[in-house]
Amino acid sequence: MNEVMTEKAAQNFIDAYESARTVLPGADGWLARRRAAAIEAFAGAGLPHRRLEEWKYTDLRQTLDKAGFAPAPEHKGAVVLPETASASAFSALDRHVLVFVNGRYRADLSKAARLPKGVELRGLADVLTEQWAKDLLERRFDEARQAEQVVDLNTALMSDGMCLRIRKGVKLDKPVHLLFFAADDGASHTRNLVLLEEGAEGTILESHVGEAASFADIVTDVVLGNGARLDHVKLQDESANAVHLATLRGEVGAEARLSSFTLTLGCGVSRGQSFIRFAGEGAEAQVNGAYALRATQHADQFCVVDHAVPRCASNTVFKGVLDGQSEGVFQGKVIVRPDAQKTDGRQMTQALLLSRDAAMNAKPELEIYADDVQCAHGSTVGELSKDALFYLRSRGIPEAEARRLLVLAFLDDVIALAPHEEAREILRGLVSGWFEEASI
């Protein structure tokens, strides 16, 4: 037995695979072989730890070893969502809604009727026999293989997920809202597949809520055909005992546009990682986010944009506020391949520390092999301006309100990058509400 195999959490996942492999979706076909290969690779590599550069600030191995998550049970009965603004976020919007409880799709709680012709929206098990799903699951999204360990884990254990396919030229009539609710303690593994064919358009809203000690492992694979457009807004707000690991892998075709925004109100430890690759010229990717953390929350944002072809534009902005003893991480990389002339790649991270005990680690990187490009990156960490606070208070605005105004102002320009107008307003409200609970 090698050293990695002795790791408790990794062994738990391997055991979980052994006991579930005959009942996991796709157990009788090509996927069973794919899962077996994935768990073998995972067993060899183990869970990511701090000695890996891309995991330098978040020790997933230690976190999961300590937490010791068993597989989350299947939840069949009625569910009661927490009475929080996050749990009811997006609910006022006209949308198709898919509800996942403990990582499993609950058709009885979902509402996705009367989809436009050319739009397919189904659970993972339903699509495994179809070629497009197989193509997505076998696609190599990230050349650098930086997500490999966690994607292998997900591939081996994925039990459900949302699969959205929009046919050529079809526009989704209203957003698809994925509501992930952790009702019980334990680990769940979700795989979402999104295929937008040439010229197709759609919006996905995603919320992750719950008060359980849960481990959510989500991988979302997105392929955008030429000229397609996907807007994606994600909200994550889970319990202090929860661990959240989300991986977005995207391939963006010529003249296509991916716009993704994440609001992280966090949980115990969260990591959101995005791997975007341009597959055709003239494409654009926006991968942005805001976070607000308190107590001992830890949130890690990791983003790689691979300019593999010329004339693409990418923009990544993450801004956050950190209170208490919370810790934020941003690691990002823009890769510009030798042929990717006329690339426009931008990356910015800014954090505001509201407490002396909060900490921020930021490492934006550019890796440029082409010469005719425009690239920029930057990082700032600061405190609320005492002068600005004094100015606001000198007009009669109480200190707590002055702080709230300044923090909302700090986050406002990044929230403005969220793609869906109504969702954007909802996010603004959530951040404002976060503040009212804040102890500062």
């Binding site: 301006s385 005492k386 002068d387 600005a388 004094f390 100015y391 606001l392 208070r393 000198s394 007009r395 009669g396 605005i397 109480p398 200190e399 309100e401 002055a402 105004l405 300044l406 909302l408 102002a409 700090f410 406002d412 320009d413």
Partner: protein
């Protein structure tokens, strides 16, 4: 209205004000003139309650209340307003939001009803018009990208809206051309009333041509070294501050 007795103030361990006595009665406009470094701005910050300005001796009473016991926003709600020499830029907060938040916070602190959006908008437009502040300016982030003149007009708009009983104008003339100065001065003069006092802090006599004071004080080396009528300002314009123990003119 305002009674300052033997006020000593230390900033970063250094004594800046060394025993100020000043009485400002309701309805009076006092000018405080003096060379750079004489303590003019320190006096204005102490009145507003800025952190780091430590009163080591003496007292400040505002309408009988001990100011030292009051926080910055409490002083504002009680009726003290400081027009900043360098108004801060606040990205992400529109001037409109800022004005509404400030006015309603003060009203709330005084136990008055808060204004709804409609009544507020009507009021702010009425106050903004004579100061040439248009809706477009109100929708912009507070002071961000404002010219020097726009910043000072925005300060006077805040004052006009908040209707303080004691307004302290710190070098409001700095950075203004003559037309902007006139607009600002008219705005200030429109607010003169028997219930409202003003302290106009300035290095130059020019502003006092437009905002004519009742009393002029000369501050030098952290003390008030001379007090007189408005003619004192004209004297200073001719003789400079050299006679008061300062090199700077």
């Amino acid at each position: 209205m305002l009674e300052i007795r033997n006020l000593h103030v230390t900033v970063d361990g250094k004594e800046i004000l060394k025993g100020i006595d000043l009485d400002v009665a309701a309805g009076e406009v006092h000018a405080i003139m003096g060379p750079n470094g004489s303590g003019k701005s320190t006096l204005s910050y102490v009145l507003a309650g800025r952190e780091g300005y430590e009163v080591t001796e003496g007292s400040i009473l505002f309408n009988g209340q001990d100011l030292r016991e009051m926080g910055v926003d409490e002083r504002a709600a009680a009726g003290i307003f400081l027009a900043f020499q360098y108004p801060l830029e606040i990205p992400g907060v529109t001037t409109m939001t800022f004005l509404k938040t400030a006015l309603n916070a003060q009203r709330k602190a005084r136990g008055e009803e808060e204004l709804d959006a409609v009544r507020f908008l009507k009021l702010v437009r009425e106050k903004a018009k004579p100061l040439n502040v248009n809706d477009e300016m109100l929708k912009r982030a507070l002071n961000v990208g404002y010219s020097g003149g726009e910043k000072k007009r925005a300060e006077v708009l805040q004052m006009s809206l908040l209707e303080p009983s004691l307004a302290v104008l710190d070098e409001t003339d700095s950075g203004l051309d003559i037309d902007a100065l006139k607009t600002v001065a008219e705005g200030v003069n429109a607010m003169r009333s028997p219930e409202r006092s003003m302290i106009v802090i300035t290095h130059y006599q020019r502003l006092l041509d437009y905002i004519v004071p009742d009393v002029v004080h000369v501050l030098s080396g952290g003390r008030i070294v001379k007090t007189g009528g408005k003619e004192l300002a004209l004297e200073l314009e001719k003789s400079g501050y050299a006679a008061y123990g300062a090199d700077a003119a």
